[in-house]
């Protein structure tokens, strides 16, 4: 039986906003999830469903109100020790990096945050620039890049520390279709060759169908469907994932 890489146990998160008249938003309402080592797992859902919050909780950037996240069996309880941080990485949708840094400088900077230095850093950064086809943009400032190039830079950054667990938040958002195809091929390759556990969020059905072994559908902070593509289609009595999405997202 495969080991569990990421386990989310009964996690709740409510955001409070406003000082004098506080408003509460239930972002995550009791999510349980287990992702196996080497699995490529998809989290689907409409905008505002709680997908990004879930990823941020798994990455330790948001502390849940209740419940916990276990990474490779290690209970994080909102506290991520250094080894854990070194074994994970994340690429966000609409990524932002320090605006004055070029692609190469940004990768150098984040590489150093993972302890890479000297020749090792140069080799790693050069390799990622090559892999993500960023050579033409290597000396371009981040604020001058197109959305798609920013996204590729973000994926390159997320591979700097050779993560065992990789979280991809909308990895192809804002990309041209030809670049999206390449990114999806790259994700498949990373998963196949490096055996990385990948958890990705998307609302592009084709992406989920093409890439993910299992899918969790989130709506209003709850998982409303979980399983393989075929299982979800059967459960919703749909002919394809597009129809399943519409069915599951409906009120």
């Amino acid at each position: 039986m495969k080991k569990i890489a990421v386990e989310v146990r009964d996690v709740f998160k409510t955001y409070k906003s406003g000082f004098f008249k506080p408003r509460y938003t239930n972002a995550i309402q009791g999510i349980d999830l287990a992702i196996h080592e080497g699995e490529l797992f998809g989290v689907l859902g409409p905008n505002g469903a709680g997908k990004s919050t879930l990823l941020n909780i798994i990455m330790g950037l948001i502390t849940p109100d209740k419940g916990c996240v276990l990474i490779s069996g290690d209970n994080t309880c909102g506290m991520f020790h250094r080894e854990l941080r070194n074994s994970m990485n994340m690429s966000s949708g609409n990524p932002n990096y320090p605006w004055a840094l070029t692609v190469r400088e940004a990768l150098n900077f984040y590489g150093m945050l993972y302890g890479l230095w000297g020749k090792k850093l140069d080799v790693k950064v050069d390799g990622l620039i090559e892999l993500m086809e960023l050579k033409k943009h290597a000396n371009t400032r981040f604020d001058e890049l197109s959305t798609g190039t920013k996204q590729r830079t973000s994926i390159a950054k997320s591979l700097l520390n050779d993560p065992k667990i990789l979280l991809l938040d909308e990895p192809t958002s804002g990309m041209d279709p030809n670049i999206s195809v390449k990114i999806r091929a790259l994700i498949k390759r990373l998963h196949r060759e490096l055996k990385i556990t990948i958890l990705l969020t998307t609302h592009i059905m084709r992406e989920a169908e093409e890439l993910c072994g299992r899918i969790a559908f989130i709506k209003d902070g709850k998982i409303t469907a979980l399983g393989t593509k075929e299982k979800i289609e059967k459960m919703t009595k749909s002919r394809n994932m597009e129809e399943a999405f519409i069915e599951l997202a409906a009120d």
């Binding site: 941020n56 990455m59 948001i62 994340m90 150093m112 993972y114």
Partner: protein, 260 residues
């Protein structure tokens, strides 16, 4: 090199790139301090200030420029991420709060040293400013840089607590600190309550000590001990407070909101 030193270097590297690529960082280092020293020097001449009194005033203008430049860099260590909306990218990595504080402080100190020699040179050239003896100079400058670290850390703490809307505090805290610590006057000239308050600011003691180099008498006993003692206590307390504010920012979602 240890991984912590590499991380500190990484933040110094990033602050350095921002410093050489943005006009506002040059203005902070060259334009405003130069305007300050020229204005104060001319005013001193107009008022007919001579000898030590002129040195007193010029010292204030020089230290104000150095302090402001250095403390801003510490705050920038965090603010560059806030303005770029890349806060979470930094904290995805195994980064400690001390890493970016120390890294940016190194660049702040470097920029402060350049500002100091440029202002002291200009003041010497145009207003007959002379440097105090070596020990008083270097030990006081070290104190100014430590106070700069403290005010920069206060900015980081407040942003973690209240978000980007409060980034103006990076400029307010240094202005208030300089007002209270008697940058252009002895603190004994302040109303009693504020004079007492000034005794809790390390910069007060370092300015006092710097001025002894021009023959001014001390208003406090053991200024260096008090200045460095307070600095160490504040840096320790602020590190703890920033850690608490960081945990709170993860609970409230502020850490992620600062990246959106």
């Amino acid at each position: 090199m240890s991984s912590q030193l590499i991380r500190i270097y990484a933040f110094a590297y990033r602050n350095y790139i921002f410093a050489i690529r943005n006009f506002f960082t040059f203005a902070e280092m060259l334009f405003w301090p130069v305007i300050g020293i020229l204005s104060i020097g001319l005013m001193g001449g107009f008022l007919g200030l001579q000898g030590n009194m002129r040195q007193f005033l010029l010292t204030g203008a020089i230290m104000a420029g150095v302090f402001q430049t250095s403390q801003l860099d510490v705050a920038y260590g965090f603010l560059y991420d806030v303005w770029s909306k890349s806060v979470k990218q930094t904290f995805i990595a195994p980064v400690k709060n001390m890493d970016y504080i120390a890294g940016s402080w190194l660049i702040g100190t470097g920029r402060g040293i350049i500002t100091f020699f440029m202002l002291a040179g200009l003041a010497a050239l145009f207003f007959k400013f002379s440097m105090p003896p070596g020990f008083a100079l270097w030990v006081s400058l070290a104190g100014v840089y430590l106070t700069a670290m403290i005010t920069g850390m206060m900015t980081i703490f407040f942003i973690f607590m209240f978000g980007q809307r409060i980034d103006i505090i990076a400029w307010m805290t240094s202005a208030l600190t300089m007002l209270l610590c008697g940058i252009y006057y002895p603190v004994t000239y302040l109303p009693e309550f504020f004079a007492k308050l000034a005794q809790f600011i390390p910069l007060t003691y370092f300015l006092e000590y710097f001025r002894t180099g021009y023959g001014f008498h001390l208003n406090f006993t053991h200024p260096l001990l008090k200045g460095f003692g307070l600095s160490a206590a504040y840096i320790g307390a602020l590190l703890w407070m920033i850690e608490m504010a960081f945990s709170k920012a993860k609970k409230s979602g502020m850490l992620v909101r600062l990246s959106e």
